[in-house]
């Protein structure tokens, strides 16, 4: 790849990170929690975005970042107070700069209307709108600079003679400038002759190594213009006395003395300078060092504590390979342990003990490796404040977003796929959940509605919650809608939760007019499906007048499944434990035939469909007789409650999920495979798929309970 192109990729990656930091900082400013460091970080973020943008010639981006940065700088230096209206404007500017970055990335930089915000920012910066042209120019000021040199060189140069007197001050050396290098630069311009003026050099015994005693008289001949000479002295100009005179042609020598316009001549120049330094001499090394060392300690000490964790970037493939290998190791260990046991070594033997220790280490290794795949949910959560701002503006509602637990780590796949469902639920919360400001005030609630987004680890799973303090689910209306759509029968008696759950049914939408905000063709059914695909579930808790909470529960990692291992005939299958409610040994009297295809199991006087895995999957030697085997009661998001008939339950264990669709194809009713302790492959069952398969077999007809409990 072209190196610039690869740096550009880096720039956009970095922009993503900077935009996150900026957004966080701006939100902290909004809530009044921003200290200097946070404001500085925001400034730096915008500054870096601008800096890189300039290098790639993203003019619109740079121009906008420039005025944005100017305002931030004023706040940073205390010249502008971060009042609410200022911060509000900054937040909008943050959104716009994010748009600018996006536009630069896509190459279409035309369509961003940042005029209003720019104008407002200029207002805060104390620049009037008329200066727009100048400001734009300022954003691009580097370009003309560079051209200037090009033109310079093109201009015809006349041979001339320059007399230069160069009297370095001690400060020149203190800044690590080196007269020799400047002379070397001059020598590149033309022929030079240099004469050192040692007249101020004291006797060796009184010589201060830190002082500047030597001056130079230089004659430079060649086709040289003044700016070129000045450029050679550019870095030194403030730390020396410098006169550059163009001599009459061929007029030699004696240039220095008359030149300095009003400057003291040599002896005077020498006197005042060494004086302070002479006083400092005995401690010359420490004296200048003392004060700075203090500040340095201050600066460095807290930094060590706050040091950002060092990170490396790794291909996901490599991580997944590690995850796989760790899984293999665990399996191999289990096989080894089995062989050792079979060979007659007990768990307390040295071999047994060693293997146990080995197992612990492997488990730890596996967990550590899996942890590599996890990332803080922050990267998803940080997209939400902007969404909330936009929705608030669109709906005219006042909304405050509270975010908690954004450092909670979840699997990368969850990060990649949770964004859309979350966005949708937040849209819903603001659009449907929160009441209008007037209604809130009328009901004695604060005018500003609150939406809370939180994440935490709870019991080996990730819990993400979206809560609002709005009106809660309007159950009467939900019921009415469901009736209207034919989703429930008029006689159905439904508990409150069951009514709430109706919103997850395909084709359900509560808004009577499809609103611009929520009505984008995806309903809560899609949200639920996405969550289920991630191995999670979603629950609603709604209280009329108080608000609703959507609670998502997701597995910690998608590579491992907590499974119930069951035997069916000569086969072993794994059921996702998250689907298992309970298991029972049904007697013949608890099983009733229903039609020709179905059997129903009586679970404490509720009948649920009973599906025989052996029959459904055609497993040889599976239990056939009524009243034999074990029924596992399943609850799935997609199908509701039903029971699966197996021969025996072998236990519970974590299994590593192995997809084989890549090598074969999807099999209805099978989610994936895993490898058991004996090294053999066992299939992980997909309970919704099994129910679907069963439905297909029986020609589509399903026992009513299957649907009614599906809510």
């Amino acid at each position: 790849m072209d190196p610039m192109e690869s740096i550009k990729q880096t720039y956009f990656q970095e922009c993503d990170e900077l935009l996150v930091a900026m957004e966080e900082g701006l939100i902290a400013m909004e809530s009044g929690e921003a200290d200097d460091e946070i404001i500085n970080a925001v400034f730096r973020a915008v500054h870096s975005i601008k800096g890189g943008g300039g290098a790639f010639g993203f003019e619109n981006l740079v121009a906008f970042a420039h005025i944005f940065e100017t305002v931030l700088d004023l706040i940073r230096s205390g010249q502008l107070a971060p009042e609410p209206d200022v911060v509000k404007c900054l937040l909008r500017a943050g959104d716009l700069i994010s748009d600018h970055v996006g536009a630069a990335r896509s190459g279409d930089t035309s369509g961003i209307d940042d005029g209003d915000v720019k104008e407002e920012l200029r207002g805060f910066a104390g620049e009037s709108g008329d200066e727009g042209g100048e400001e734009d120019f300022e954003g691009l000021d580097f370009a003309p600079m560079q051209f200037a040199f090009g033109e310079e060189e093109a201009a015809p140069k006349l041979p001339s003679v320059w007399h230069i007197r160069f009297v370095p001050h001690a400060s020149l050396y203190a800044k690590a400038n080196e007269p020799y290098l400047i002379l070397r630069e001059l020598a590149c311009l033309g022929d030079i002759s240099v004469e050192a003026d040692l007249s101020r050099l004291p006797a060796l015994c009184s010589l201060d190594a830190e002082e500047a005693y030597i001056a130079w008289n230089i004659e430079l001949r060649g086709e040289v213009e003044r700016p070129a000479i000045e450029e050679a002295f550019e870095f030194a100009a403030e730390d020396c006395d410098l006169t550059i005179e163009q001599a009459e042609q061929d007029l030699p020598d004696l240039p220095g003395l008359p030149d300095p316009p009003g400057l003291p001549d040599l002896p005077e120049l020498g006197q005042p300078e060494p004086l302070p330094d002479l006083q400092a001499e005995p401690v010359k090394a420490e004296a200048p060092a003392d004060a700075p060392v203090e500040t340095r300690k201050e600066a460095a000490a807290p930094a060590v504590k706050e040091a950002a964790p060092q990170t490396i970037r790794v291909d996901l493939d490599k991580v997944d390979r590690l995850v796989n290998l760790a899984g293999e190791l665990v399996i191999t260990q289990a096989m080894l342990a089995q062989s050792v046991q079979d060979a007659g070594f007990g768990a307390t033997s040295r071999l047994g003990n060693g293997l146990l220790e080995f197992e612990h280490l492997l488990r730890e290794l596996q967990e550590s490796v899996m942890a590599i795949r996890t990332q803080p949910v922050k990267s998803v959560f940080q997209r939400m404040p902007r969404l909330v701002r936009e929705l608030a503006a669109q709906t005219g509602k006042q909304v405050r977003l509270l975010v908690e637990g954004e450092t909670t780590e979840v699997d990368k796949t969850v990060i990649d796929r949770i964004g859309e469902p979350l966005t949708h639920m937040i849209r819903n919360a603001i659009d449907h959940g929160l009441e209008s400001t007037e209604d809130r005030i009328a009901n004695g609630k604060p005018a500003e509605g609150t939406v809370k987004l939180s994440a935490e680890h709870r019991g080996g799973r990730i819990v993400i919650e979206i809560a609002d303090d709005g009106a809660g689910i309007n159950r009467a209306r939900v019921r009415e809608k469901a009736l209207e759509k034919g989703l429930i029968s008029p006689t159905a008696t439904l508990a409150d939760e069951e009514i709430d759950n109706l919103i997850f049914m395909p084709g359900f939408s509560t808004a009577s007019t499809v609103s611009n905000i929520s009505g984008r063709g995806v309903g809560m059914d899609v949200v639920r499906r996405s969550i289920v695909e991630l191995g999670g579930r979603i629950v609603i808790v709604s209280t009329p007048g108080k608000g609703s909470r959507f609670v998502l529960t997701l597995p910690l990692t998608l590579a491992v499944l907590e499974g119930m291992v069951v035997a069916v005939g000569d086969q072993t299958y794994v059921l996702p434990l998250s689907n298992v409610v309970e298991s029972m040994k049904p007697s013949a009297s608890e099983i009733e035939a229903y039609g020709r295809e179905w059997e129903l199991l009586n679970v404490r006087n509720t009948y649920v469909p009973l599906i025989s895995i052996g029959k459904l999957l055609g497993v040889e030697g599976a239990t056939k007789g009524v009243g034999q085997g074990v029924a596992v009661l399943i609850e799935s998001e997609g199908t509701g409650r039903f029971a699966l008939l197996v021969d025996a339950i072998l236990g519970q264990r974590q299994v590593v999920i192995k997809s084989f669709e890549n090598n074969y194809r999807h099999i209805e009713g099978i989610a994936a495979a895993t490898i058991l302790g004996d090294g053999r492959v066992a299939l992980i069952l997909d309970v919704d798929g099994l129910a679907g398969l069963c439905r297909d077999r029986s020609g589509g007809a399903m026992p009513a309970e299957l649907q009614a409990t599906g809510s």
Binding site: I7, Q13, R44, A55, M145, A289, R296
Partner: protein
Amino acid sequence: MSKVVLTVDDSRTIREMLRAALSDAGHTVLQAEDGVHGTEVLADAGNVDVIITDINMPRMDGYGFIDHVRSSELHRAIPILVLTTESEPAKKQRARDAGATGWIVKPFDPAKLLAAVRRVAP
């Protein structure tokens, strides 16, 4: 005239640009992400011929870093170039006051960067 150049900048983009331009010219490039990191790299590096540093950085900014270098008995003679933009004359001045040797105006083209290094590197 291959030099050892230490660049200190919190922006990965700028770091990559500096590295590309400097190593293309045959310089050895050491990099740090902020002032504190810069002091650490400097301490480990043994010898560094030129330092190029940004001003706005977390943990320790460019001024603090220059200050640190200039007050170190071992490193105070190392020339330091600061990265500034044309619109920051005050910053340039402050950097000079802190002891910067010279400056490079961002965005820089490689030729100007290398010229600046040449002008300060012994």
